[in-house]
């Protein structure tokens, strides 16, 4: 980090990590602050996207270049994250449809049957 112009005009790991952290924080705010269960799921998907961006950025700018193998390990992890996110979205949306069928709402403030 020598100059501010280099920081702006030379895209490196720092820029991607800042975007990744911002997207993750935005997803956290949506997942914590929204009332609809589907909106909470949108926040969780945004958080997963932020972590995927960090994995791909570390794969593009590797810190340990001594071994040639393992440069695309981050990509393989991202493939697993994608499949787990798809499974999670399917099950969570099925659960929200089921809750709607019982309670006629997906409002998380009104699904308080187990609250003491």
């Amino acid at each position: 980090m020598t100059g501010i112009s280099e920081l702006i005009f030379e895209i490196g790991l720092v820029h991607y990590l800042i975007v990744s952290g911002s997207v993750f924080g935005l997803g956290t705010a949506i997942a914590l602050g929204k009332r609809s269960a589907i909106a909470v799921l949108m926040g969780i998907e945004l958080m997963l996207n932020g972590s995927i961006l960090a994995l791909l950025a570390f794969s593009r700018f590797p810190q340990n270049t001594s071994s040639e193998a393992g440069l695309v390990d981050g990509h393989v992890f991202v493939v697993f994250i994608l499949s787990v996110a798809a499974a999670e979205a399917a099950v969570a949306l099925a659960l929200s449809v089921l809750v709607y069928r019982k309670r006629e709402t997906v409002d998380l403030d009104r699904i308080n049957l187990m609250r003491w």
Partner: protein
């Protein structure tokens, strides 16, 4: 030194992702929030392309912007009497504080650390990913397929209406 196209593309895509992500938070209608989420996913796919991750960018467009958003549209449409507004709970202020804290913390750490690695340019990543998926990570690959199968079966079993269930349709 990066070419100017990469720099311009990065800033455009990062602005697209963060702007439409903010609009997901701010939109009043749940379907509008969903549309902005799709735009955010597409911008994220563009960011993946600037990272020379071609396969993951295509998978992002197919899986996130395609199928997961369609699943969410289904969930919104299958809950027709529920409220469509994208309202906030009382936890929105702690949520925003947590968001700012996480973003500031990650950004400060990224700026403070001296990263040393040069950029590696992949011509294509598909054959490397395929070799790793069927070689080093074959067990995790199989487990992921089993997980997807069980998630599919579980989702179908959760939402099916069995005629022998006496509580169905009465417990409202």
């Amino acid at each position: 030194m990066d070419s100017p196209g990469i720099v311009i593309g990065f800033y455009m895509m990062a602005g697209l992702v963060l702007g439409s992500g903010t609009l997901v938070f701010l939109a009043r209608n749940l379907l509008h929030a969903l549309a902005f989420l799709v735009i955010s996913f597409l911008g994220m796919a563009g960011l993946f392309l600037t990272l020379s991750a071609d396969f993951i960018a295509m998978a992002q467009i197919l899986i996130y912007a395609g199928s997961i958003s369609v699943l969410m549209v289904f969930a919104v449409m299958l809950t027709p009497l529920a409220s469509r507004d994208n309202g906030n709970t009382i936890y929105v202020l702690p949520g925003l504080l947590a968001a700012g804290g996480i973003a500031t913390f990650v950004g400060f750490l990224a700026l403070d650390t001296s990263w040393s690695g040069p950029a590696t340019d992949f011509t294509t990543t598909i054959d490397l990913i395929g070799n790793l998926l069927l070689g080093k990570y074959v067990l995790a690959f199989e487990i992921a397929s089993v997980l997807l199968l069980f998630a599919l079966i579980g989702a179908i079993m959760l939402v099916q209406i069995s005629p022998s269930d006496p509580e169905e349709g009465e417990g409202r």
